[in-house]
Amino acid sequence: MRAWWFPAALCVVILANGLLAFRYVRELGPMATYRITARSDDSLAAAVPARPAAFGTMIRQLLAIQSSLGGAVLMVPTDLSLNATSLQLFARLEIQQERRAPIDPGVADELEAESDPAHLLLAGRRLYVARDLRPPWTAPLHLIEAHGSPRLFVVSGARLDRLGGSVR
């Protein structure tokens, strides 16, 4: 004699998970909100790693993606202060990127309300430095969800800070 309740229970679990997943994605949006579009691939490939800092590579890659997406806002949640070298580096990279799209003022307002950011003027564009955003890390991600924009990319300011003097 075999128990049939177990396969039946598994079918119920599958059905319920499927329905709840459908509802979750419809109400809150898929995790793929954070997906990088295929267009960014070429830019990533073009980003050559710079010795010795992998963080530099990462920043360059992110900036390259930004560029390919038509000038997105780069938001830097940081728990450390940015030093002068980091900012100079950042400014230099920003200049190289030829920004086009304007910054969404809604995002800026919400950022200010959320995290008391310091606004820095770099190469004619504002860089949003949201301090003490961690924890929770999800705050900037919620902003992305709220604005439905895949154009925001988040970099840990702690990582950016370590760029100081180490990227050529």
């Binding site: 004699m1 075999r2 128990a3 049939w4 309740w5 177990f6 396969p7 229970a9 598994l10 079918c11 679990v13 599958i14 319920a16 998970n17 499927g18 709840l20 997943a21 509802r23 979750y24 994605v25 809150l28 898929p30 995790m31 793929a32 954070y34 997906r35 990088i36 295929a38 960014s40 691939d41 070429d42 990533l44 490939a45 980003a47 790693p49 010795r51 010795p52 800092a53 992998a54 963080f55 590579t57 990462m58 890659q61 992110l62 961690r134 924890p135 929770p136 890390w137 999800t138 991600l141 988040v154 970099v155 840990s156 990582r159 370590r162």
Partner: protein, 482 residues
Amino acid sequence: MTEAVLHALLFGLGLTYTLPASRETGLPFAVAAAYPVGLLLWVVAMLASLVAPVSLFPAALTVGLALLAGVGLARTLSTLRQTRGGALGRLAAGCAGFLLAAILFSELNLAVLTVDSFTYIGAGRSLATFADPSALAGVLTNVGVFQVLVQSASIPIGVPYLHAASPLLAVSGIACFVVLGRRGRLALGDAPDPGRGPWRETAIVVLAAVAMASPYFMVAQALYVHTNYAAAIYLLLACATFWLAEVEDRDAWLPFAFAFLVAFSLQRLELPVYGALFAAIACAETSRQSRWLRWGPWLFALVIVPWYAYLSTLSSEETRLLAWDRALFVMTGVAALPVVAHLVRSGVARHLRPWLAPCAVGLPLAAVVASVAFVPERMEKTFSGLVSHFIHPAWGVTWLAILLLGIATLRARPIPLGRLFSHGGAASLCLIALTGAARAGGYHGGLTDSGNRMLTHLVPVAFFFFAVSLGRARAGHEPSSR
């Protein structure tokens, strides 16, 4: 397409190690596990070559891969010579299936990326370019090395990052779930009636695999460039192969079990402790006498301890997670595994053997209770974070199902080595709570929170346990008490 070729090569590399064992472990396992094994071999080759002087890096990697492939190929060729036509046809069909999946996932970029993903991608690319781990001290002491080294393969083939690695590992893992679960149910004595195929056992295991993979968060993580789905798959493979060695009375599964345990432990910095606990439970609970059970824990420690000793030298002010004291804790835990395994199996502590699994749960549980007493605020945040994880809509009804099916296993006929799943899972839950207590802010309860992602590790193991424990014939073969 370039990425598909890389994955096909890794699959082929893995196949040269799974195929020679297929006379005992079966052809379906050889094909299903080839990609996870191939990825692990790549990671091991990269890790070994990074230890060599920087100037030797590309040559050391090439020689390492050539040696690995050469050894595997020599054994595979002799296996293939003895393989009959029908089996060759099934092997070719399995390879073609993987190739199709590799092309599909390489052409369709379904990758989900967050900030963490960029850490793995950037660090991996930097390592493959400059072969200088010391320049990445801030990364390697904060994240596990496995995914970093997987992503390092993007440099030799000239693609930005590997977006198909995660889904291919997920597909291989689900295939392994079905193959190993079906073998397990049949080995437990649920053989089909004469003249009828084992369709029912297959159907139950397939249903369990689909139920395991069906929550939204599991689907998203199968596409996510991150560590947790991979950790879950490797933990499942390690536990399932340990368990099959017991129920099938076959040593051939054990080298795979320890290899998968190493792969699991390299995914995240804290996972060697989890891996050591699972291995300790397996070694204490099994009734087998095998040289692999004697030497496996030593091999596990020989990979993990030197790597953590090296990581402890990289510890600096940039280190958030693996400061030297924590590295020392992990090394001590892992180094204790072979000693404890030896003592409880054949040494002076033989009489303590039945108590090891309860202790594996009891000690972390006591640490959780102590944490509640000493850092109540952190534990309050951790518990509230964990509760919100369990009821997060992205998990669907998964955790409710695990709770109810877990209760049902208490009434079911016990399976051999069942404590590996039940006690290993319970110990992991306690360790996840302790990991939260070690973080200044505890768990915050968000979808991509570390605690929520770590719960993923337990889902395939739990559903595999249910798949082989529940819905079995009420009469028939009775397993041994262990």
